[in-house]
């Protein structure tokens, strides 16, 4: 009977299918157990950043001398910023600017890096959301989603961002960098996230050289050294007229 054998066949097929489904289910359960293990393995990781902290820098320009670039070198070394041989396209996360007041003739020198604005223009204009502000106020570029349009570079009033024009090799593990993306000062998040009481490389380089012009700390904590100094001495934001509420403040300009 052909019709009977057909029934028999389809019954068998159904049983086989159910058996396979069962096996698949077992596999799914097994992998969900492994995922639990994954969660356990990640327990040692540092917690997600929150807005209870707001990281910032206070730069005492009276301690910063013209021609000194210890902070720039410290930054370059930390992130493996190297020269392409063409000065005009080299990445600069910190630039030294010398100023002279025309009225008084008073000179000052200051490092200018990403100012980590609260209302960051670079974040506003980014078409992909790659330029973003973390909960703790650090403004970063997510290189995975950066398309290299350089709109943020146009928007930044501080010229703090650089574009990587050429293929790079020998990048450091702490600072992934690649051609076709925009980058800037990260406030050394790889240091400050990993451990308490870590300082950005520029601040370390400056204090190691005995200048102590760069102070890093939590602007939200009224008891922190940086907040107390700002409260006592006052501090300037560069282009405060733009009302960006920068995380990097200066004294003595």
């Amino acid at each position: 009977m052909p019709s009977n054998s057909d029934h028999f066949n389809s019954g068998q097929a159904r049983r086989r299918f159910l058996k396979q489904l069962g096996l698949l289910g077992t596999a799914a359960v097994t992998s969900s157990y492994t995922l639990l293990e994954v969660r356990k393995a990640n327990a040692a990781a540092s917690p997600a950043v929150t807005n209870t902290k707001r990281w910032g820098l206070l730069i005492a320009t009276d301690k910063c001398s013209s021609g000194c670039d210890d902070c720039v070198r410290g930054c370059n070394e930390e992130h493996g910023l190297t020269s392409s041989g063409r000065d005009e396209i080299d990445a600069q996360w910190i630039r030294k600017i010398d100023l002279q007041d025309k009225l008084s003739g008073r000179k000052s020198s200051l490092p200018v890096m990403c100012q980590h604005c609260e209302s960051a223009p670079c974040v506003d204009v980014c078409p992909t959301g790659a330029s973003f502000k973390r909960a703790d106020g650090v403004v970063l570029v997510n290189s995975h989603t950066c398309i290299g349009c350089r709109y943020c570079m146009m928007a930044c009033p501080y010229k703090a961002r650089s574009f990587i024009h050429e293929t790079l090799t020998n990048q450091l593990a702490v600072a992934p960098r690649g051609k076709g993306t925009v980058e800037s000062c990260t406030l050394c998040v790889h240091r400050i996230d990993a451990e308490e009481d870590q300082q950005p490389a520029c601040a370390v380089a400056c204090s190691d050289a005995g200048h102590g012009a760069i102070l890093f700390g939590d602007l939200n904590d009224a008891g922190s050294e940086i907040s107390q100094k700002i409260a006592a001495q006052g501090a300037t934001q560069i282009r405060s007229d733009l009302e960006l509420n920068t995380g990097v403040r200066y004294t003595g300009i």
Binding site: P2, E37, A41, R95, I97, L99, L103, S104, A173, K179
Partner: protein, 191 residues
């Protein structure tokens, strides 16, 4: 009426018999193809990718799980780290590199994306391009892999060049338009 029903039934019976025979034929053909593929691949001796062994006894998760899920684990952790600053979790790319980068005769680390190395051997077998290492370090961090880096030129000389200009521009060094902006702002403050 009865006759016509009977004839319809007989047509149906013939149809299903035909279907049965057809499905059997298809199964046989499929079986033959599978068997042929199996025999061919074993004759060709395709051993799959040859993957160099990593350091230590075991990976952060078991091998079968990592083979299937490493990309999801890495993408997940990448977002956690970049967006939320979660560091030191189990599935970081740099730890993959730390364990799986081989060393050459001179003891120098070989890139994991070099031909025949851990990442590349499997990825070229599966014809999946990796672009992690156009940005990320493909060898563990050590002093010897940064030895070949060219240091940035001394900016002092650039600064000196600018400040020597007769106009005594208040702006030395780089970033003229920024310095102009700051200068303009300072003057506004002074007034």
């Amino acid at each position: 009426m009865r006759d016509s029903f009977a004839s319809v039934r007989s047509v149906n019976a013939t149809g299903s018999a035909l279907k049965g025979r057809l499905s059997k034929a298809i199964t046989a053909v499929l079986f033959a193809i599978t068997a042929l593929l199996f025999v061919t691949s074993s004759l060709a001796g395709d051993p799959g990718p040859v993957i160099p062994k990593g350091q230590g006894d075991e990976c952060v998760a078991d091998t079968a799980f990592m083979r299937r899920n490493h990309m999801d684990l890495m993408v997940h952790q990448r977002d956690d780290t970049v967006l939320e600053g979660i560091r030191g979790a189990a599935f970081s790319l740099s730890e993959c590199v730390d364990c799986h980068a081989q060393k050459d005769e001179q003891g120098k680390a070989i890139r994991v994306d070099d031909k025949g190395q851990f990442c590349q051997s499997c990825h070229s077998y599966a014809a999946v391009k990796i672009d992690c290492f156009s940005c990320h370090a493909a060898v563990p961090d050590s002093s010897d892999n940064t030895a070949g880096l060219r240091p940035l030129p001394n900016k002092d000389s650039v600064t000196a060049g600018h400040s020597a200009e007769p106009d005594a521009s208040p702006v030395a060094g780089l970033g003229h338009s920024l310095a102009d902006q700051i200068k303009g702002h300072l003057q506004t403050d002074a007034q």
